[in-house]
Amino acid sequence: MARGAVFLGAGGGGDPYVGELFVSAQIEAGRFPRVAALDEIADDALVVSIAGMGAPTILVENLISERALLELVRRTETLHNRKVDALISIEMGGVNSMFPLGLGARLGLPVIDADGMGRAFPHLEMTSFSVYGCRASPLVLLDDLGSLVTIDVVDDRRTEELARTNVVAMGALLNGSFYPMSGADAKRTAVAGTITQTLEIGRAIREARHASADPVHALLAYLDQSGEKQHARLLFEGKIADVSHETRDGWHWGQALVRNASGDELKIDIQNEYIVARRNGRTVTVVPDIIATLDRESAEPLTAEMLRYGQRIAVVGFSAAPIMRRAEGLAVFGPRKFKLDEDFVGVEDLVTA
């Protein structure tokens, strides 16, 4: 599942490693996560998203405080004056796919097989929840040492700015409970089936490796068949010729350049996640569609931070969930929101099968 989460992380979302260990620790203690389909959740249930917010480089030292997460749920319940019934991920990419599973196992709460992106995005408001009418706040932010901030703002874009300011002021890494919603809201606004999808991505890679088949092609075959509305394309195979990283305004910006033996090149722009891939200057995949970088041999998904000069990789374009591609969504997380001077075109129309 962690492998699938890195894939859907589209280069960002952070390495799920620490989150994976949090889930492992629960399982080793005899507590197993329970995943529930959207239609198993009652319409009047209280559903919240539990996520970490902050720098992945801090997470690998601070790790996860179970006590702080339990306190976060308690304070969220106090705020709403009722029990939380189920947890849901904001983003299925990266480490935040793991927080609800570990905490759900700890509390015995179901985790919904869905999320708010079907991938990872850098901003709190870039969710299908927000686009289709759920609000990120009132939200609770809590640090590992017990300091708490509650934010209640009408506009999710402002909520993002305020939450971000608090993260920076409170030690660069916080846990939060976001997007309090009813079960009915979750059914209406979430990207369904994404935990299953991460598991299936991981399974496709694992089984191909065991069968000594080419795991990249096995994964493409799985992704392209996973529904009529889902398309996957192999964008490029080659070696990384250059990677640049820089931090500006609290974001990770960069570019990766991949070349093949015939001299063709693929450029991937990074704004925390991969936002656009251009082959010899022509766009082949653009947000909100997913760009994933895989180790060419093992199909191990690599985050942008793991890319190094000389690595041999395959780059895959994967269509975002239909709910993410509608006009309302593109207005919030389409190419122009990432300052790209182009309109969204689906990967299946940019690259022929």
Partner: protein, 527 residues
């Protein structure tokens, strides 16, 4: 020959113990013997033969460099490990991911499940978020005494920035349990608490074995009548003292492949190339850039445990002199007769068709009894030789850093299995003494210093931060024995951090220098 200027390089592998005598860049003699189960007697035998063959007096040897795979083998095979405790100061942080999470069951069955978490720790800016709790430390020490723990690892958040916290913990345990070795996470790994802590636990579990092995090697050197300084090879191909190796055996885990890559580069005179080391069971393919083995950028696993140790990027494929061959099915390996090649191969009178027999039948190797393989159909032999080449070609292609053809250096006892041309390689070089490249790699080793820290670029500027990191790496290399004038920075990586108020940057620097021979050999010149 000037006194005590000769270097003795030794590689103790799973099958062979190789030794080489060098003076400057000249190779004076080599020896290849079988490794013995006690290691020491094999080393003594190999060196005695080498000194006998070359007629070089023991007193002429000033430095002995040993590379050994014993510690990694012990850990992977779960033998000679002691009951090991890990004490982490991080609370109230980190309790969601306790120490030893996701460790293999068979390993925990051997080292025990002794994980403790206490209060204490530092933030990314070095400030303290919780004071180290001495009362909890005392309680843990009492429990360790009752459980008769053999080794202790200590860890804390941001140990690379705040070594003092782990130093206090270590001092406490050393006072409470004087005979128990203590490993500090900050001494064995960079940023990333879990990976660093894992490396510390691996190290602690091996520490008592390391003390015995290093003592055994020191005894072997004095039994041989050598009045020489002894160094041990570490993972990046540079040297550490025996005291350091006894304290931190985890640093030596990947020295074998690294030494073979560096030895190959030295013997061939190539600084940028792919290195193919064909042994008895496997072929290890790595690459050398600017004279140093390329390291993996990805997390790596030692015996099933994830660490952030620096390791050479080496790909092992099942192809060696002892690899089993089936000409009817046209299949190769992965099984091998290993060190029983001399008994089992057809050309040596055995009953098993091996890669070595195929090479003899193909006429590329002249070993044993050629007539014993003359019945093999030449077409099938040619096909088998081509499959061996394609196995190597696949591995080379995965290791190469660019599509441009590079030279390949072929070393190891089984290098005859491979042809003089491979696709993607512009030429094949088989240097003289290729069969003992790993011992040569040990003999020519340099010393290094590393830094992996967070720097506040808002306070001292980006250039100031880089300069501070460079100076610290150079100072570390010199303290390890490098000649100050030869130290150079060979790697500098900056990783900016997101979500942090000011510009905070993680900087990794590696400095390397020649061993300062003058300093080490001057004090005790014997007549």
């Amino acid at each position: 020959m000037p006194t005590r200027t000769i270097r003795l390089g030794i590689d103790v592998g799973g099958t062979n113990t190789d030794a080489v005598l060098m003076h400057g860049r000249d190779i004076l003699g080599t020896n290849k013997s079988f490794t013995t189960s006690d290691v020491t007697s094999g080393v003594i035998e190999s060196v005695e033969r080498l000194l006998g063959d070359t007629g070089i007096p023991a007193r002429a040897v000033g430095h002995v460099m040993i590379g050994t795979t014993q510690f990694i083998n012990a850990f992977v095979q779960r033998r000679d490990l002691v009951q090991t405790a890990i004490v982490r100061a991080s609370l109230p942080r980190g309790d969601g991911v306790p120490p030893l999470t996701a460790w293999p069951e068979d390993l925990l069955a051997v080292i025990g499940h002794h994980a403790f978490e206490i209060h204490g720790g530092a933030n990314y800016d070095g400030s303290t978020y919780a004071d180290l709790d001495e009362r909890e430390l005392a309680e843990v020490a009492e429990t360790l005494r009752q459980r008769e723990i053999g080794a202790v690892a200590v860890s804390t958040t941001y140990a690379p920035l705040r070594p003092d916290i782990e130093e206090r913990m270590a001092a406490f345990f050393r006072a409470a349990l004087p005979s128990v070795p203590v490993t500090l996470s900050g001494a064995v790994g960079g940023l990333g608490l879990v990976d660093r802590e894992n490396a510390a636990v691996i190290n602690a579990s091996l520490a008592p074995l390391a003390q015995r092995v290093v003592k055994g090697l020191e005894d072997a050197i004095s039994a041989l009548g050598l009045d020489a300084t002894l160094f041990i090879s570490q993972n990046d191909g540079t040297l550490i003292s025996t005291e350091e190796a006894a304290r931190h055996p985890v640093f030596t885990c990947a020295a074998g492949p690294t030494n073979s890559i560096r030895g190959a580069a030295f013997l061939s005179g190539l600084d940028d190339a792919v290195v193919i080391d064909v042994g008895g069971t496997t072929t290890d393919v790595g690459s050398v850039t600017h004279g140093f083995p390329k390291e993996t950028a990805l997390p790596n696993f030692i015996g099933g445990v994830r660490t952030n140790m620096r390791m050479p990027d080496v790909l092992s494929v099942p192809l060696g002199g002892g690899t089993l061959v089936d000409l009817e099915q046209m299949s190769l390996g992965p099984a091998s007769v290993g060190h029983r090649l001399k008994q089992e191969a057809l050309v040596f009178g055995g009953q098993t068709l091996t890669a070595t027999d195929v090479a003899v039948a193909a006429g590329v190797a002249d070993l044993g009894d050629v007539a014993s393989v003359s019945y093999l159909p030449s077409e099938a032999v040619a096909k088998a030789m081509a499959s061996m080449a394609s196995i190597a070609e696949g591995a080379v292609d995965r290791i190469k850093t660019s599509a441009v053809p590079v030279p390949a250096i072929l070393v190891g006892g089984g290098h005859i299995l491979l042809p003089d041309q491979l696709p993607g390689v512009d030429r094949i070089v088989r240097p003289r003494h290729a069969e003992v490249a790993n011992a040569v790699g040990a003999a020519i080793a340099t010393v290094s210093g590393r830094v992996d820290k967070l720097y506040d670029t808002a306070m001292i500027g980006r250039d100031g931060a880089v300069e501070a990191a460079r100076q610290e790496a150079i100072a570390t290399a010199v303290a390890a024995g490098a000649h100050p004038e030869t130290v150079e920075i060979i790697e500098l990586i900056e990783l900016p951090m997101t979500h942090i108020r000011a510009g905070t940057t993680q900087i990794k620097v590696r400095a390397v220098g020649e061993l300062d021979l003058a300093v080490d050999s001057s004090p005790a010149i014997t007549a």
